[in-house]
Amino acid sequence: MTLKEATQEIESHEFVARVNVASDFRTFLRAVAEQKVIHVLSQELAASENRQYVLNRVLELSRRKVDLRYENPWDTALTAYVWLLNVKDWDFAKIAAEAAARAPQCWWATKMAHHILLEGPVCNDAGFAQHEFMAPPSTAIVARASGAEEVILLADLLPAKDQSVVYKWHTGLSHSNPPISPVIQRWLEELPTYTAIAA
């Protein structure tokens, strides 16, 4: 599947139907992350020109006029693209989020933009890049994306007190208060970069 075919599928009515059974943002993101086409696009975004392509797609879709009676038909695609850029390229993600926030009559895209512009990086725990588990699932799971430097830390499986610490560490605010478990501390020391799930 080519990059263009992947974006066409993500922008299709069937894709929208499949992931919009969700009633909340987290379930929606999970549904998106589980789709095979999203895995394909995620791998394509390893290349900077492809990330530019997707960003351009966001900019174009967010400027399109829509029927004022109905929800923006590209809401799901915008959300998926902004989220993938958020995982792969934080600077592009912020640009994309600002564009998506201005797109008319969106639902999920607005929420995604809210997370990125007001709260920080957003990650989903569907683990589309899971290859190696380094901890008992009852406390936390660390996944290393194959061939990539980034790590996805499934923070929403951590105790609440660890979630906020992990998130603050990522944003550079603090990583020592409140104290966290030795297991989590070891991962934080080993990881070059990661994206934390907002609590």
């Binding site: 009515h13 499949r18 059974v21 009633s23 109905y70 929800e71 926030a101 809210h114």
Partner: protein
């Protein structure tokens, strides 16, 4: 368009005035209807993948929580379910064996057991040959349709039936 801070909250004029029995505002947001072409695509998809589910209504303006707690008027995030169940004086029942029509089934995500969906029981038929019940649920599948379906016949994204709740009072 922009980002509304505190969307759905008590100070959001676009939110419906919705509250629990104790008067706590239930945050809610109204979602625009999907275009007819999208609603048709959704109906076609689930007709193919969940052929035994019966479509009652094709609309995006409410979700599963909005169906059960807001008369199909708005979207309520499942994160507020715990508050609603508590303040509307629901009690958990043991399972389908105690359930009656009008009771609620809560679905949980298979991995982390977060609430992913809810539905209302509309029919219970005993299955004498295997001692169990065939429970029919009325539930809203996100922005896709409102369906009548057997309790575990839902898209995988909606999780599995986990707990049963009732607001019934004994005389």
């Amino acid at each position: 368009m922009g980002i509304v801070i505190g969307a759905g909250g008590a100070n959001d004029r676009a939110a419906l005035p919705l509250a629990t029995r104790r008067g706590t505002h239930i945050p809610n947001e109204k979602r625009k209807e999907s275009a007819p072409v999208q609603r048709r695509a959704s109906a076609e998809l689930w007709k193919k993948e969940r052929p035994n589910a019966r479509l009652r209504s094709a609309t995006a303006v409410y979700n599963c929580m909005g169906l059960v707690f807001a008369s199909r008027r708005t979207w309520i995030d499942p994160v507020h379910l715990k508050t609603i169940l508590k303040e509307d004086e629901y009690r958990q029942i043991a399972g389908p064996q105690e359930a009656q029509i009008g009771d609620i089934v809560v679905y949980e995500n298979r991995r982390d057991r977060s609430v992913s969906h809810i539905g209302m029981i509309v029919e219970i038929v005993p299955k004498i040959d295997l001692p169990s019940w065939e429970i029919t649920i009325m539930s809203k599948w996100g922005a896709d349709g409102e369906y009548l379906h057997i309790v575990d016949d839902v898209p995988s994204q909606l999780g599995k039936p986990a707990t049963y709740w009732t607001d019934r009072r004994l005389p």
